[in-house]
């Protein structure tokens, strides 16, 4: 993992995105609540979220994973779901923490980038989970394959606010 972090691929990425929504929930199955800002803590996660290291109470907490400290979702996926599957998914329904616009999430695995004043490292693409259909009562599992967001660990913490920029380092 460290090798990837230090040795960033050659290709320079030029993109600039923005944070549109922020969500967290303290325990598995509870609805996500929207916040104007979230506190990102390096190496631990989001204060008050179900996957915050030391307070694990999430659906996957029995399988600890460093890279699940903060999760991202693309705004553009809402349009794609609407267009391709006639499904309306709301920002509080995908159960990721940060909804971003203009960020090529699927190309960021293994890279570090700035999330507001924080720095995160993308560890892997998120996979959808069958239980999301049970929670939402919407058939979104298949449509979300390959566009279910990105899992990241927090390298440098800070306050993240709606409207903050998301940028390559």
């Amino acid at each position: 993992m460290d090798a990837i972090a230090i040795d960033q691929p050659e290709v320079t990425m030029s993109w600039q995105g923005v944070v549109r929504f922020l969500h967290k929930t303290p325990r598995a199955f509870l609805p996500m609540r929207s916040f104007p800002s979230l506190e990102l803590v390096a190496g631990r996660g989001i204060e008050g979220d179900r996957y915050f290291v030391g307070h694990e109470a999430g659906f996957y907490s029995h399988k600890p994973e460093e890279g699940r400290q903060v999760t991202l979702f693309e705004m553009e996926t809402f349009e794609a779901l609407q267009r391709d599957h006639k499904i309306e998914l709301l920002p509080e329904e995908h159960r990721r923490n940060v909804t971003v616009e203009g960020v090529p999430l699927n190309h960021l695995v293994g890279r570090r980038f700035r999330l507001g004043e924080a720095i995160v490292e993308a560890t892997r693409l998120s996979t959808p989970c069958r239980h999301i259909e049970e929670i939402l009562g919407k058939s979104v599992f298949d449509p979300l394959i390959n566009r279910s967001g990105l899992n990241c660990k927090i390298i440098a913490g800070g306050t993240l606010r709606v409207g903050d920029a998301v940028r390559p380092i």
Partner: protein, 316 residues
């Protein structure tokens, strides 16, 4: 390894003795967070420990989203769930519940005719509160009880407005169920929850009604995620020497779970590969999107897998 979270953790915030052998329990999140959403008249499984699980309808309405309210009548001859709740459950106690299921698909325009026997009124209390909150009065509740009915405080405006017809069967005659529904034969939704005899009479009264216009409150089992359509088969776990039968309603993963086998499951839908398991006898039915044809020769994605033959042997 810690166990996977499979239920919603709540805390008992209020226990009220309503008389007539009935107690009302209010369950909330420990931080007063919103609870998972539900439809009017939905129900939850309440996990009372040591395998004791009972299903109760929610009495509150979907917009009242930070609590689950259930009302429990003590059944002295029952199987122990109501006695446990009455005798052992106190304020402050943690209780695990399932995600809410079911609910009544209310008629938006026509009249919703609810028929309840005793404590069977609970799903309709939820539905009436939901309708009243939206300023709607397109319903009528016929409600029988032996002695003083409980829970009336939850639908006081509806009672005051004359939309609830109460029958104390200790003092007056039972309603003529056929007559109640005759009037609405052409439109509206008919719904009933009560003792078996009442359900039977109700069923007869609306036998000619189309299915989508009638609702008999019955608790639905949890949705099986990977529903299987294959006939039952035998499952043998060679490493732990365990044997079970896999039936379509429980499925392979549910059976492994019941046997106490901790297979790592992540997506639960055959795409992540977390649950791959070696098999030695089958042949299995593969429904995943992970394994190559070569891998399928000796591995199975059990969260969506099954057996095409009579016996599946897994190396677990």
């Amino acid at each position: 390894m810690a166990k996977a979270v499979k239920t919603v953790s709540t805390v008992v915030s209020k226990v009220e003795d309503l008389g007539n052998d009935t107690k009302r329990f209010t369950l909330v999140d420990q931080d007063d967070w919103e609870l998972p959403p539900f439809r009017p008249g939905a129900h939850i499984d309440v996990h009372l420990g040591q395998g004791l699980v009972r299903t109760y309808s929610l009495c509150n309405e979907p917009d009242d989203d930070r609590r689950y309210v259930i009302a429990v009548k003590r059944e002295r001859e029952g199987r122990g769930g109501s006695n446990f709740l009455h005798d052992r459950v106190e304020v402050g106690q943690p209780i695990s519940v399932s995600l809410p299921r079911g609910g009544i698909a209310l008629d938006q325009e026509g009249t919703n005719i609810f028929l309840a026997g005793g404590i069977g009124v609970t799903p309709f209390i939820s539905a009436i509160r939901h309708l009243e909150r939206r300023g709607r009065s397109n319903y009528v509740l016929h409600w029988t009880s032996r002695g003083r009915p409980v829970l009336t405080d939850m639908i006081a405006p509806a009672i005051e407005a004359g939309r609830v017809r109460l029958y104390d069967t200790n003092a007056q005659a039972k309603p003529v169920i056929a007559a109640i529904f005759e009037e609405f034969a052409g439109s509206g939704l008919a719904a009933c929850c009560g003792p078996a005899a009442m359900l039977k009479t109700f069923g007869d009264a609306v036998s000619a009604w189309p299915d989508e216009r009638k609702h008999i409150e019955m608790f639905t089992p949890p949705k099986v995620i990977a529903r299987s359509d294959v006939p039952p088969y035998e499952l043998y776990l060679s490493a732990s020497n365990k044997l079970a039968t896999v039936t379509p309603d429980v499925g392979l993963l549910g059976t492994l779970d019941a046997l106490g086998v901790d297979v790592p499951v992540s997506c639960g839908g055959g795409i992540c590969g977390a649950c791959r398991t070696r098999w030695t006898e089958g042949p299995p039915i593969h429904r995943d999107r992970v394994l190559s044809p070569a891998e399928r020769q000796n591995e199975l994605i059990v969260c969506v897998g099954d057996c095409a033959g009579q016996r599946l042997v897994l190396d677990l």
